[in-house]
Amino acid sequence: MTSETENIVSRYVQRRVLLSSLLFLVMFFVITAALARSYHAREESLVLEWFQKGNAELANGKPALAIEDFRNSLSYGPENSQVQLRLAEALLADGRFTEARSYLVNLWERAPGSGEVNLDLAHVSMQTGDVDQTTRYYRAAILASWEKEPALQRRKVRLELCEFLLAHRMTNEAQAEIAGLAADTPTGDGILLEENGRLFLRGGEPSKALAEFEAALRINPRQSQWLGDAGQVAFEDGDYLKAEAYFSKSDRENPNPEIHASLLLVREILGNDPFLAGLSDDEQARRSLRDFDLGLQRLRSCAASGNAGLSPGQSQSEFQLLNKDAQDMQKRVTLRSLSRDPDLRNEALELVSRIEDAAARGCGPGTGLDQALKLIAKRHEGNNP
């Protein structure tokens, strides 16, 4: 065979083999595609199957089992963010914070704007005691996107953040967050307004709290719980008139022993406070004298009890000194002198306050009138009416 013929034959064989290879390649492609499609379908069903199992286990309070299920699910869909998130949450529920954090950081890198991921990371950081990180993730979660009910989710996160800040005594930051929360609260939702009020109260802003409760009461003026809350805030703020109004209304709407007790206390205060606005000098004098006599009785009864209840550091001489001061003042205190001398009324009440304090430490907290006297004295502490 000549080289020319060999060449032709060789080229012929090449073409034939190449064409048959291409044909076979197409057939192989079809088979592989079918195989891959069926496998992917099976993988997807396994991802879902294990995911649902994991969710059920987590809902039943079995995070350890849920972790295994989610891991099984992830082995068939390693990129599935939903499964990764749930796995992280299960790890979090099982107290495995480092492991949870690893998944969450991975998710966060892929979706830094995910509300759920940021919230979970806040939870992990909270568990590991990293206050700065926790605050940062909470704030990111508030600003992040949420798939379902974004407004509600953001409010929940903000509430959590407020709780966290209050628990860590970060009052200024907490007050700012509560203010933000209140600003975003729809005015027609009494429950949310009441929730805000409670937070303001815990954040040390009773007047803002009262405003929230009053806003809630404008929506439903007969809601006894809110009336009670408003009364309590007014009481703590020293606004006993307002407190009496709310307590009595609440007591009428839904009698409650606690509210009723508070109402009685407020009434005692209002009935004995010599500096209540609008009282004449004579009335102020009468009340001051009565309060002074009550204080004196408290001192004597406490001293008569043998001072068994002296608190550590409290000496017998404190009672002796109070007794001496009381006797000195008793000489000066008359209805007439009190009526003429507002400073004396003040002095008398100050002494009553000292007596109540000492008696509370030595003989236990006073009740009824004694409690009222203590609150009256406290209310006017440092005041010069």
């Binding site: 032709i8 012929y12 090449q14 192989f28 891959a36 496998y39 294990w50």
Partner: protein, 593 residues
């Protein structure tokens, strides 16, 4: 075709005289080919490149089918949970081990082992011939073995399957012997690229471990095959990196010390792993033939026992590597997983169960790396980063120490994770592990396995380390300066009188060199006046020149027919650095020997 090992498919290919002319002229389906002869007329070089793409596509699809088959078998035999039920864990690897052993012993003897050495043997012993039966056998037996929980991986078998597919196509196309030898590595790279979803590492591995050369023709085809294979695989199984890793940044330079410690530990453990395999494999192979039917089953049973406590040590373990990379285990448990995997993989491999070592090596590396990272973090939290980057670096480090492919290992970590930032610790750690392994284990694993199989395959590592003699190692200074072309014959006679050199070198102003022996000189002097310049008598003479940095092997080709050659500077060919003669070359080689 007088080779007794002629493959069936090649023997059945149409012979030139019988079928080609008639088919070309009569067959309606092929007639157009003969009418348009310029179409599809490719040079062998171009055909080879086209073939590389086709091989890549075939290999990619074969690997996709292979991986899916493994998964289907695993689902069918062990169930869909990562931790299978205990009874299955005990019975399945052992039962399937029996089947696999029977298939290997009776039908697919070539399917035994990992596949890397078999591919090397195909290149260096069998002229690129890998029987197609081996491809089928590898596919079946490895799918069964790995799917049933034997602690082996699919990468090395994929490499061999790719080589087998390439070899079959090459034979069909009646490629020359040289091309056939080269085509097996091309297929190997394609198979590995698809199995790992890492074309760069596959190319590097084949060059580093199988062919050991960077020749342009080989590299082009290998790259094309690897890329087309990876593209095909990604189109079916997705383009995500094999492992997802949290972002890593080097926090403090002192962290590198921690990684260096990891390099030391991984180096020592990879060495121990190699020694275990090197010791037990020949012992088990030397047992009576009938025991070979049961060895994989016994190994499967033992693996089952380990799997009852540590199910993570079964199968490929990719999911668990992923979990280690996400700090899902304590360092103590990571250490347990690493040692359990060394045990189960050793059992699977030395028992002759077909399957690869890549995946287990990565698994062990990740676990050991994570354990070391966790331990260091426990004692030095300020220096050491979290566990995950250590697991990541550990993968490459153990791989470098065990497989002895330092460059591939670095790229493999980068490619399989998509994380480039880790490269610095990987390089440090890998180098240490590689050097330790090399110092205490003379022969690399694959070379060792080849020796155990009575094959003397070239060791790429040894070739890399071989001392290359250069011209400067053999050249000597001439005892007299060279003559100039303007010198007279009288001057040349004077110099010859004073010199001991047999050949006098003459330098021309253009940088050309010529040489003349004493005999030539005397003959010239007899025929010409003493005042005749040398340029007149040496007008056509020209000597090849050498440079000091040229390989001595290359110098041998030039020195044929010359007694001595000038060695000149690369900065100017008029500057003589020395002279080189054949005896000088032989003396240099003798010194090295």
């Amino acid at each position: 075709m007088s080779d007794p090992n002629l493959p069936v498919d090649e023997a059945q290919a149409p012979t030139s005289t019988e079928t080609a002319p008639s088919a070309a002229t009569n067959g309606s389906g092929t007639k157009w080919l003969s009418l348009r002869p310029h179409l599809f007329t490719l040079s062998e070089g171009n055909l080879f490149l086209l073939l590389a793409i086709i091989i890549g596509m075939f290999s990619g699809m074969a690997v996709v089918c292979f991986r899916i088959t493994i998964e289907w078998i695993r689902l069918a035999l062990l169930g869909s949970a990562l931790a299978p039920p205990p009874l299955r864990v005990l019975l399945v690897p052992a039962g399937v081990g029996l089947v696999v052993a029977f298939l290997v012993q009776k039908f697919f003897t070539g399917a035994r082992g990992s596949g890397v050495n078999q591919t090397k043997a195909a290149v260096y012993v069998f002229d690129g011939y890998v029987p197609f039966r081996t491809v089928i056998g590898k596919f079946l037996t490895c799918s069964l073995a790995i799917g049933s929980g034997q602690s082996l991986g699919p990468e090395d078998p994929s490499l061999q399957m790719g080589a087998g597919i390439a070899s079959a196509l090459g034979r069909r196309l009646k490629l020359s012997r040289d091309r056939l030898r080269l085509i097996a590595p091309v297929g190997a790279a394609a198979g590995l690229a698809a199995a790992f979803n890492a074309p760069i590492s596959a190319v590097l591995f084949v060059i580093e471990e199988v062919i050991g050369t960077w020749s342009a023709s080989a590299l082009g085809a290998i790259v094309l095959a690897a890329v087309s294979s990876a593209v095909v695989m990604r189109s079916f199984l997705g383009g995500e990196p094999m492992f997802r890793v949290p972002a890593y940044t080097l926090g403090h330079p002192a962290e590198l010390i921690a990684y260096a410690v990891l390099g030391v530990v991984s180096g020592v453990l990879s060495l121990a792993f190699t020694k275990i395999i090197a010791y037990f494999r020949p012992k088990l192979r030397a047992l009576p033939e009938w025991t070979h039917y049961f060895q994989p089953a016994v190994a499967g049973l033992l693996i089952g026992f380990v799997g009852l406590r540590v199910p993570q040590s079964m199968g490929t373990g990719y999911s668990y590597i992923d979990q280690a990379l996400h700090s899902q285990y304590t360092w103590q448990f990571l250490a347990i997983l690493g040692f359990a995997k060394i045990l189960t993989t050793s059992l699977s491999f030395v028992s002759g169960t077909p399957g690869g070592m890549f995946a287990p090596t990565l698994f062990i590396g990740a676990m050991i790396g994570g354990a070391i990272g966790g331990l260091e973090h426990h004692f030095f939290p300020q220096v050491s980063a979290s566990v995950a980057p250590f697991a990541l670096v550990g993968m490459g480090t153990f791989f470098a120490g065990f497989m002895r492919v330092p460059i591939t290992s670095v790229f493999m970590v980068v490619e399989t994770t998509g994380s480039y930032s880790i490269v610095l610790p990987v390089m440090i750690s890998n180098t240490i592990a590689y050097l330790i392994s090399r110092k205490y284990q003379d022969v690399a694993l694959f070379d060792l396995l080849a020796k155990q199989d009575n094959m003397e395959l070239p060791s790429m590592e040894e070739e890399r380390e071989q001392i290359v003699l250069l011209v400067e190692d053999a050249m000597r200074k001439p005892d007299s300066p060279p003559l100039q072309a303007s010198d007279t014959l009288a001057r040349a006679l004077e110099v010859a009188e004073a010199s001991t050199e047999d050949v006098l070198l003459v330098r021309f102003p253009t940088g050309r060199w010529a040489g003349m022996t004493r005999k030539d000189l005397h003959a010239m002097a007899a025929g010409h006046s003493n005042e005749t310049q040398l340029r007149e008598v040496l007008s056509t003479a020209r000597l090849p020149v050498l440079h000091p940095d040229q390989r001595l092997d290359d110098a041998l080709r030039f020195i044929q027919g010359h007694e001595v050659l000038p060695v000149v500077s690369r900065a100017g060919s008029r500057k003589l650095e020395g002279v080189l003669s054949l005896p000088d070359i032989l003396t240099a080689y003798q010194k090295t020997a």
